[in-house]
Symmetry: none
Subunit: 154 residues, 2 copies
DNA sequence: ATAGATGCAAAATCTTTGCAGATTC
DNA sequence: GAATCTGCAAAGATTTTGCATCTAT
């Protein structure tokens, strides 16, 4: 995968779009990496505040929203618990890439494919969801490469 | 399946626990059945208000919470959209993109989730593959958050 | 120097709750 | 008739925003 810490990646991305790495943002990132599970904005704030008591909650929210838009964290909610949003810092560990099926509606052909990134997505779902995913059943339906032009003529 | 309408089932359940079927509850149920997708409390309120302009939003919330506790609706959130809670009247509604299911093997619960990154992966698969993906059918099986500790004790 | 971030306070949004009066069984 | 619901208004909880000030580049 990558051996850059999330903070490094974020700094890079920030620079590339004219943004700035600030002490506050570093604290939010550190909190995200430190805290287990899926902390709320409040929890991140509390953790980061241990290092800077002046850090404001609105700054945490602003940072989290930016991280969300930039794809560094996923927001998620758990129905069982309170109604506060939670944030999932994407872990970089991967699951074995399974194989999936594509079924063509015209010729009926079945194409097997492996899509490693899919496993990553599933792992991140598993974490954001708190349970354990034991089996995944994915099938895609549509038109295969050779049938696509045929169907366009119809 | 069952051929009782949701309203009938709810009435039955309500009676069995000393509750009462009221005009307001009927309106909320009707709205849930009428509205496509996963309406928010506000949307349900707006719809039900067409028939009773005096229906209060807090009544809608109270009814939805009761329906939730009784298992008639599932609360769910979609990350892409606003931050308001949404309610799913267990429709057998199929595969709108970004809408997948997790089935718990222990409690049988079905959890809906949206995983925007999944769509990205599928698009990139489609491109490398040359055909057209028209429908995706993804189901995950495993243990949900509350059943995970239970199964560990066994 | 200056574009961009922060802290603050105030507002916006979403959801819950206590209570008096109305309704269902 | 009595327990249950409802509307209302007010409070709670969570998240966003405008602005003066501060800071990283």
């Amino acid at each position: 995968m990558t051996n850059l810490s999330m903070t490094d990646q974020v700094t890079q991305r920030l620079r590339s779009e004219g943004g700035r790495m600030t002490a506050q943002r570093k604290l939010v990132l550190a909190a995200l990496e430190d805290l287990p599970g899926h902390p709320t904005a409040e929890e991140i704030h509390a953790r980061a505040r241990q290092d800077d008591p002046d850090l404001h909650l609105s700054t945490v929210y602003r940072t989290l929203r930016w991280l969300e838009e930039s794809g560094f964290v996923n927001p998620c909610w758990f129905a069982e618990e309170g109604r506060a949003e939670r944030f999932d810092a994407q872990s970089s560990d991967s699951l074995e890439p399974g194989h999936y099926h594509f079924v063509c509606r015209l010729c009926g052909g079945v194409i097997e494919f492996a899509e490693p990134r899919l496993a990553d997505v599933l792992v991140s779902f598993q974490e954001s969801f708190g349970g354990r995913v034991e089996e995944t059943d994915l099938a895609l339906y549509g038109l295969c490469k050779s049938c696509l032009p045929v169907s366009a003529q119809a």
